[in-house]
Symmetry: C2
Subunit: 443 residues, 2 copies
Amino acid sequence: MESIRILSAKVTDVRVPTSDALLGSDPFHKKPDYSSAVLQLETDSGLCGISVVFTVGAGTDWICHGIRDLCQLVIGSSLDDFSASPITLYRRLIDHHQLRWLHDGVFRMAAGAVLNAMWDLWAKALGKPLWKLLVDLEPEFVADCIDWRNISDALTREQAIALLQSRRADVERREQELTRQGPEAYCTAGWLGLSDDEILMTIRKLQGCGFGSFKLKVGLDSDLDVQRIRFMRDAIGPDCNLMVDANQFWGIDEAKRHIEQYRPFSLKWIEEPIARDDVLGYVELAQTFSNADFGFACGEHAASPVIFKQLLKSRAIQYCQIDAVRVGGVNDVMAIVLMAAKFGVPVCPHGGGIALCNMIQHYGMWDQIAVSGHSDTQLIEYIDFLQEALTHPVAVRDGCYVAPTAMGWGLEFDAQFIDDHRFPDGAMWKPRSSASKGVMFEA
Amino acid sequence: MESIRILSAKVTDVRVPTSDALLGSDPFHKKPDYSSAVLQLETDSGLCGISVVFTVGAGTDWICHGIRDLCQLVIGSSLDDFSASPITLYRRLIDHHQLRWLHDGVFRMAAGAVLNAMWDLWAKALGKPLWKLLVDLEPEFVADCIDWRNISDALTREQAIALLQSRRADVERREQELTRQGPEAYCTAGWLGLSDDEILMTIRKLQGCGFGSFKLKVGLDSDLDVQRIRFMRDAIGPDCNLMVDANQFWGIDEAKRHIEQYRPFSLKWIEEPIARDDVLGYVELAQTFSNADFGFACGEHAASPVIFKQLLKSRAIQYCQIDAVRVGGVNDVMAIVLMAAKFGVPVCPHGGGIALCNMIQHYGMWDQIAVSGHSDTQLIEYIDFLQEALTHPVAVRDGCYVAPTAMGWGLEFDAQFIDDHRFPDGAMWKPRSSASKGVMFEA
């Protein structure tokens, strides 16, 4: 087979004016406009490598700018070059001798977009969903995709290979099980803006779809939060899982005061109680609440495998919430999922936004088939939001994801959706240019 | 006095083709082109608020893109708005309800540029150098400039005020001392590419200028490094300070192996042995080498006050190397310098690049006059590189900085330098567009 060659990159700034309805808001992100930098790598084969970086409005153009710059490094290259050694492209991007000065955040997210689009293209060329490509990789090949420089003190290359090898005998059986019933999902029912009645309605609707785990946003008002937790615990009964999410709103001492009041409610986890990069803060919280029945969870804003390494190795977190687009693509996520498996921490990816659920379901499949090799403790976030934008929407049945069958990530967007929401000149934005300015200038 | 109003922002991508001579290279940044995103806030007063973000070539445009976007939030505002409450602008930037999704790196550096340009403008309006503006601020005002949310477990607002208050009696005397002789400087003599003879020549030249502290780049080759350390120790004698800098090249176990060999040479510090965000790694190194006579240093790549908080609170680092443009401007640096003072860790800022020394000298002055209140343990990095680009070059006399007297940061650039080095259309770049492409594509 002739190798597929990357001809050009199309990068689109897509924004949805969700702030109109205050959907998905939290204490910090008061008026998010769910958005995506959408990368399409066009090739000489007709196949297109697609990836997205989710953002919450302003700043999507920063990511687009970065992706366009980085795409210079793949245009003209072949898929064979990539698939022979994904770490080579990873290093050309993440360790670029000048661009690495830009660190995590915009730079690592943009680099991840390019890597994820190449992985997408590879899976499509093989005619496989992304998760199946990952499951079928040899343990040594997976290990070779990973940058070991800064994480070997927690997990060595040899340990990773041994871990993956030890699962091989069961992979076929696990794949059959997971294709019958995918990873278990959970959902946020307690959004900040909702009334008790609305929350109850949401819970009942989710229970009707088989959900048994529910999350609640907290942070602003301790009394109200405790009241809400009690309300939700009463509504779902003692056997369902209840989690709370503080979206990094507290300092450490404040977190301790709030969380102390949460002890009676048999919570499963406390999510993002403190700043995304406060590793020692997480260690301190884990020690303070070591006798509580809840654990700590974070990861959607952990900006690098090194942060995950510390949180896992120190046993500061009990749930590992990888994000699909915050770190350096599949390569970084491989490292994080493997480290989580070594420390016995369930991988419970962060979903929502635009198309994040479409991506994380692949990581859930890979983890539960080939890395941790079980489905006993993981929950994968699910929000049915904006799925109309995609040709292959995610599906949930009996509270579990339905194993995705589309090739690659399955990130094909509805063309009209992209056209309408292109910022700032799509049909959705043209008439509201002053409104969009208003959101940018919100204090 | 009528308040000064911001009329417009000029953001320029300035790059110097330093990679021709491999100046300033390290194991990761093999071919840096020293560069700056230069921000000029133009006002109705004739005064101009200037700041820079140093980069190493590719990626400067990413920072410029970000600064242009953020400047929307200050254009039309008045200096009075800012000077009445600098934290208000800080929050509008760093906690912007949509842009904060972009995290540290490009976003925080761009936000820092806007803040630093406003501080520059304020100092100019008062007719003071930046350091003098900081020294003259009331302790409560300084405390009000700081975002305490994520650092109060290490230093409270009240502790910061008490610390600054306790220095007030001595401030006048310290200011007189520091204006006579500024903060002590040190310099890198052992660049990777240099021969022994070249290093020796550099040392002798620096000693002739009164320098007593010298740094050496290490990392790639353990045997060669030890040989170099021995060579430099012999050259400078036992009484001078010798420091080594590994520029994050090692993993933790690798770092331990290398550093173990450094014990005999009475080094002052080991700089950046491991990844910039590996706080627990630094804790582990500090424990492993607790009986050695050197300490650990880092900070030029620490991306937020939260990372500094952890390194200081855990006593993992013994030298705090703030950078002038990596975090969120004066406000973030205030927090870090105050935390360092509380934990008794000397502030030894990172200099070099383009115009970093011009900025850090102000922080050194403020720290040594009004925060730590002494000059017993600090060393401030100095490199005499590219100072011809600036109207007010830094000066060193008898191995110490000469207290800067220009208003604000003193960051006025030579107009011809900016014109010549504007990327990609300045005279320096037009004829070398293909060469610049070569550096971008360097593996």
